[in-house]
């Protein structure tokens, strides 16, 4: 009797949210598979084309390079992020440092800023007469860097901004991990005469393996979906050199109105990330049973 009313209450709590999730997330995901089989420009009736979109997409040089570029952008950013945010965390973890909270806050501020605003600021700083060139590179090296003008440089310029807005975030995750390591481990290592680097490689890094994995997975997912930075800083240019996958989808769907085609590209996005998404879900649900 009592359990029955309780299980009914359970449904009341859960079902409304589940319905919203089904309508606004799960249904669109399933629908993207259907849309990918059609050619459709929103105005005219949909035309069934079977797998033509997939065939065209896999021969579309623009798509293939956008896809490869996004992978390159993601993997390079993530590799650098892992190192930088870990080093920041080590620097701030020294337990004697009184001002740690202040430094942690300073490193975290870029994380909370509004991404398109960050884009506007860096876009101005990247100009030929902007602060990076006119303030640093021209006086020190006598040359300017074509941050956004060169198609070989622009992607790395945006990557720099990507690192700036996310390093503090992963740093905090590492600090949380570092604080979870019992002090005694280090004390006994010190007694045994282990050097700082020995302690780092024998204690800290092995014990932080789960944190490294989590940072790796979450940063891959976050970076791969980057849209606001390339959109505000370079609009995908010059010569498509900063067109990430999200921009490719956006342009095809909402500028060229190729709805089916863009859906097909989204499916590639989904499939590229699926291993990482599943790893993320595993990591989340493994801890704390």
């Amino acid at each position: 009797m009592k359990t029955k009313s309780q299980s009914r209450a359970g449904y009341y709590f859960v079902v409304p949210t589940v319905i919203l999730f089904c309508v606004f997330l799960i249904y669109p995901m399933l629908n993207s598979f259907r849309l990918s089989l059609y050619s459709w420009n929103i105005m005219e009736p949909m035309q069934f084309v079977a797998f033509d979109n997939f065939k065209t997409l896999l021969q579309d040089q623009e798509f293939l390079s956008s896809w490869g570029r996004t992978l390159q952008y993601t993997l390079t950013s993530v590799a650098l992020l892992l190192v930088i945010s870990f080093v920041f965390a080590l620097m701030l973890d020294s337990r004697m440092l009184k001002a740690r909270n202040m430094f942690q806050a300073i490193y975290f501020i870029p994380v909370v800023l509004v991404t398109p605003a960050v884009g506007v600021v860096w876009k101005l700083m990247f100009q030929t007469t902007g602060i990076l060139n006119a303030g640093i590179f021209a006086p020190l090296f006598g040359a300017t860097v074509p941050w956004l003008e060169s198609k070989n440089v622009a992607l790395y310029s945006i990557m720099m901004v990507q690192l700036w807005i996310s390093a503090g975030y992963y740093m905090v995750m590492f600090i949380a991990g570092l604080q979870g390591i019992p002090e005694e481990y280090y004390e006994s290592a010190v007694i045994d005469g282990a050097s700082w680097s020995k302690r780092l490689f024998a204690i800290t890094i092995p014990l932080l393996k789960p944190v490294f994995l989590l940072v790796f997975v979450t940063s891959v997912l976050f970076t791969f979906g980057q849209f606001a930075l390339p959109y505000t800083i370079s609009q995908g240019g010059p010569n498509y050199s900063t067109e990430l996958l999200t921009l490719f989808v956006y342009r095809n769907a909402f500028k060229y109105l190729k709805v089916g085609y863009a859906s097909t590209a989204s499916i590639f996005y989904f499939l590229t990330m699926i291993v990482f998404s599943i790893m993320q879900i595993r990591l989340f649900s493994d801890k704390k049973r």
């Binding site: 209450a9 606004f24 995901m29 993207s32 398109p116 700083m125 989808v249 998404s277």
Partner: protein, 253 residues
């Protein structure tokens, strides 16, 4: 680390000719105090700001309500299909809004919600991660606490409101802060779904003013500062929660 942030603030007080002038001057040679007034007066920027506030408030309220109720239901009740529902919600972590932007737009236009607040708000208010977070939190709340109230004859919704919500303030604040950032910063979805000037949000406005329209640099920077300053101030007062929220997504659980 803070240099671009400081440069942004100082730049918003410069005159247009001084922002990118050579030789570089960090401090404004002459202070310009009109860029903020111009930014809000010229064009619909004030309107964009208001729209962002509206979207933020409603999206966060819906998010907190859905995450809390569903998280509570999943953690504290046993019923058929519970594990299925939980898996279903967790599986939405695989579909960030970027991956479903096209079919989502199709759905919203079929519901006639393009260029409406509801159309902007609803997709931004759901978060599988938030449900997961609240479920984990309530999982740690001892059952005896609720059992005692049940013996006293309290109804389930009364218990939820009077016992479960009050003990979860810290988790609720963290969730609110976490999700507010997501909504306030989001560019892609409002860019796609709000094409009328009256409904554009701050992030869309900022990218338009810097790209399409000709806008003087100090005004661009003033808009950027105005967009960032509420979160930065919130962060200064509640940095503990920002940091805790982040660490929570990490290993501490």
């Amino acid at each position: 680390m803070l240099f671009p942030f400081i440069w942004m603030i100082l730049g918003s007080f410069k005159y247009n000719k001084d922002v990118l002038s050579v030789p570089v001057r960090l401090l404004p040679p002459e202070w310009n105090f009109s860029s903020y007034r111009n930014a809000f007066a010229a064009g619909p920027f004030g309107r964009y700001y208001l729209n962002s506030v509206i979207v933020l408030v409603f999206a966060v309220i819906i998010n907190v309500v859905t995450c809390t109720t569903a998280g509570y239901g999943l953690a504290k009740f046993k019923f058929k299909g519970r594990d299925f529902f939980f898996t279903l919600i967790l599986s939405t972590l695989m579909i960030p809004i970027q991956t479903i932007i096209v079919p989502l737009f199709v759905l919203i236009s079929q519901l006639n919600m393009v260029n409406t607040y509801a159309g902007i708000i609803l997709p931004l208010s759901l978060s599988g991660f938030g449900v997961f977070l609240m479920r984990q939190f309530f999982y740690g709340v001892p059952d005896e606490l609720l059992e005692a109230a049940r013996i006293d004859g309290a109804g389930e919704f009364y218990i939820f409101r009077r016992i479960s919500i009050p003990i979860s303030t810290v988790a609720l604040i963290s969730l609110t802060i976490f999700h507010s950032q997501y909504v306030w910063k989001n560019l892609l979805w409002p860019l796609v779904v709000a094409t009328k000037t009256d409904l554009r949000t701050l992030t869309v406005g900022i990218s338009l003013f810097s790209g399409v329209f000709f806008t003087p640099y100090p005004e661009q920077l003033a808009m950027s500062v105005s967009a960032c300053i509420p979160i930065v101030i919130l962060f200064m007062f509640l940095s503990k929660y920002f940091i805790r929220g982040t660490a929570m997504t990490g290993i501490k659980g």
